[in-house]
Amino acid sequence: MPARIRRDGRALNEEYYVSQTALSSPEAPAEGRIPGNKGIWAGILSEMTEFALLFGVYFIARAHYPEVFREGPARLSTLAGTLNTVMMISGSYFVAKAVHAIRQNRQQSCLRWLLLVLLAACGYLLIKALEFRWNLGHGITGGMNLFFTVYYYLTFTHMVHVVWGMMGLMWVMVRTRSGAYSPQDHDGLEAFASYWHATDLAWLVIFPLLYVLH
């Protein structure tokens, strides 16, 4: 394959779907392609950089105040953190299933999986709201010490990314319902899926750092 085409995600995507349609078994993406589009990856890499900086703050703060960071997680609700992790992982799984469904030209199935993503996202927000209320009931505020400052910064930032993702989710649900995606053309759905997975990845670091690691 010429290098010019290998660097071009769209060209590879089209080639992949032509070949996969011929095989009638869309199982795996083509080598070297860009899932979704380049624009969403600029956003995803910015998001990961933002979280990397926040994790850097966490590590430096932990190094300066090890005792505070050892005691902090024990005061948080492990149940809330665990349930939110299950919500994020499940949401990511449902998105992957939705992409798989559209590749098989099963639009109704795709829409049902996306609905499950929405439920997981709403579950995440509900648990977060209950957790913050529980925190306040136990006198846990961002000003208590540096652990809780970092905790609120990280979890609020992550929550904002989930809300942005939910807006994108509702858009791709409308597009799916209107029949805009097909096995040959679903870059928009893949772009959303990639963003949602990235938001899940950020949480997969937040959970152990804030709730598990004593």
């Binding site: 995600g9 199982e27 795996a28 993406p29 083509a30 080598e31 070297g32 392609r33 860009i34 899932p35 990856w41 890499l45 990961m48 990397a52 994790f55 590590f59 430096i60 932990r62 190094a63 300066h64 090890p66 050892r70 997680p73 492990t78 953190g81 665990t82 992790t85 299950v86 992982i89 499940s90 990511s92 799984y93 998105v95 992957a96 299933k97 798989h100 899926a193 990639s194 997975h197 990235a198 899940d200 990845l201 997969l204 670091v205 959970f207 152990p208 750092l209 709730y211 598990v212 690691l213 004593h214």
Partner: protein
């Protein structure tokens, strides 16, 4: 293994690892060994999502390297902060 079946099994595995991680956080005595287990679990979960849910295993090499790299660096720094926290604190003191 078909892609769809792989997704199903990974989901169950990731949920199981999450519950295991929560149990470790509640029951295990804090220490270096626990920190290493938690960091390895974090690295594994991230790698699985990057490779299979995000489908970067066979995708663009730069994106794959960057996303995989995130889950090499953060777990490694987690362990290093436990081991060399004092040094990091001195390095970052104004």
């Amino acid at each position: 293994m078909p892609h769809e079946k792989l997704l199903d099994r990974l989901w169950l595995l990731l949920v199981a690892l999450t519950l295991g991680g929560a149990w470790i956080g509640e029951a295990a005595e804090p220490g270096l060994a626990v920190t290493i287990v938690i960091s390895l679990t974090m690295a594994f979960k991230g790698r699985m999502v990057v490779d299979h849910f995000m489908e970067l295993k066979s995708a663009n090499r730069t994106l794959r390297s960057l996303m995989r790299g995130f889950f090499y660096v953060i777990p490694a720094v987690t362990v290093l902060t436990t081991l060399f926290g004092d040094w990091l604190a001195r390095l970052t003191t104004l």
